[in-house]
Amino acid sequence: MKRGKGLTFVGDSRIQKYDKPKLNRDYSEFPGRTEEFYPDFLLKEWVTGAVFLIGFLCLTVAHPAPLERVADPTDTGYIPLPDWYFLFLYQILKYTYASGPFNIIGAMVIPGLGVGALLLAPWLDNNKERRWTKRPVAAAMMLISFGIIFYTTWESVAYHDWETQNQQGQIVFSNLDTEDPVFQDLIRSNCTSCHGGELTGGSGPNLIEPDLNAETVNAFVTNGSGDMPAFEDQLTEEEIQQISEFVANLELTSRDEAENSSN
């Protein structure tokens, strides 16, 4: 074997590659104050990265990633919300001319135009000028798009019902037995749309935590109160009584004793 660095072959190991590519260039020909990437610049990047990482770790501990209760497809009262970077699309789809019969505009035309224009930007804006002040049309389009994304995101956040949002997903351990026929047949079809899929509150109040007795619940269900409708005509007295006893019996429990589906 021939000694020395840089020994390579060209496909066939009997034929040696002789031209060693020139590794180092003479950087003095570069204009301006350049800096070699390795090692100094890399070290600075590394230090910046480490500082950033420490800050990031603090964030993860100070603000744990959210987790809501386990998915329950039958809970139709739940108001969905995507992660924040999709909110602008979600908001655009709420506008009259981008939803319902015009859904195709919000779901296809607008995102399609956006992505298409972005993909084709080098050919749409194809003169040599690089400075953005010298290509007003392209710059204006980008600024307007940015403005729309920013505004619709803001609008979506500002008009959202955050109180219900935070209530509806909470992990609550209770003795609510979701398999119980009273819950399955009566409560799920009459109460959960307002009081939440696990009765922890929605547009109506939480029914697990307050210490209610069966008579009080019965009166509420029979006659209604405020925004809550009366169920006198929809349910029999016996059904109302079953519901009342079931609800009066509800309470918070520890995680190990919980019977609701979060367990």
Partner: protein
């Protein structure tokens, strides 16, 4: 000792050019924040890459506990978050990292746009960049379902409904993603897991490799 090991290997397979190729390049003055502070806008691409690495590493650790089925998914995440040492940190990094990577990528896109760096000869790299953007959004969308909690399920429902409303191919796309024409359930979670953990990362790696090779070929665009 280490030097002799290196030399021994280098004698045989000539590894020096490989890493030299990555390490040896000049950082021009106009992109170096040490000389012009405003050049920090040129860091957003690198930051995107850095956070992508965080996502990959934290994601790998998440899969050591996560179970992609509808009976255990939520429980495995709850357990990871509350009972596993440092589970809170690992999940937190992946969760907040997902937002950060979107922000950084957006800022990087704006930098490239407003410095006109997508112009000839860099059109192809811009197109690869836009594809990277879409892959990232796909990762964000599919990852959101995985904890299988209320927000995950219902946001995904909305997303799939939007996909379904696309004319001609909509229903086909929805079935492909959800694994069923109507039900969003066990099959959907498994598919989203596969897409989030195998398909899209594979696409991401290929596109990033192309992106970086092209940057080295063309060099960074010159000062304005």
């Amino acid at each position: 000792m280490l030097n002799r090991i290196y030399d021994w290997i280098d004698d045989r397979i000539d590894i020096t050019p490989i890493w030299r190729d990555v390490a040896d390049h000049e950082v021009p003055e106009h992109v170096n924040p040490a000389y012009h502070f405003s050049a920090f806008v040129y860091c957003f691409g690198g930051l995107t890459f850095f956070i992508t690495v965080i996502q990959i590493l934290s994601g790998m650790f998440l899969t050591m506990y996560y179970v992609p089925d509808i009976v255990n998914a939520w429980n495995s995440v709850y357990y990871l978050q509350h009972d596993v040492a440092a589970g809170l940190i690992v999940r937190g990094m992946h969760h907040w990292g997902a937002s950060l990577v979107v922000v950084m990528m957006f800022l990087h896109t704006l930098r490239v746009f407003f410095t006109g760096s997508y112009k000839a000869p860099r059109e192809l790299n811009w197109v690869v960049g836009v594809l990277l953007f879409l892959v990232m959004l796909g990762l964000a969308f599919t990852g959101y379902l995985l904890p299988w909690d209320m927000k995950a399920l219902f946001a995904t429902k909305v997303g799939l409904d939007i996909a379904e409303s696309v004319p001609f191919v909509g229903e086909w796309i929805k079935t492909l993603l959800a694994g069923d024409e109507t039900i969003i359930g066990a099959q959907t979670l498994t598919r989203f897991f596969a897409i989030h953990v195998f398909f899209l990362p594979a696409a991401l790696f290929v596109l990033m490799a192309i992106h970086f090779i092209m940057i080295r070929r063309q060099g960074i665009s010159g000062p304005l």
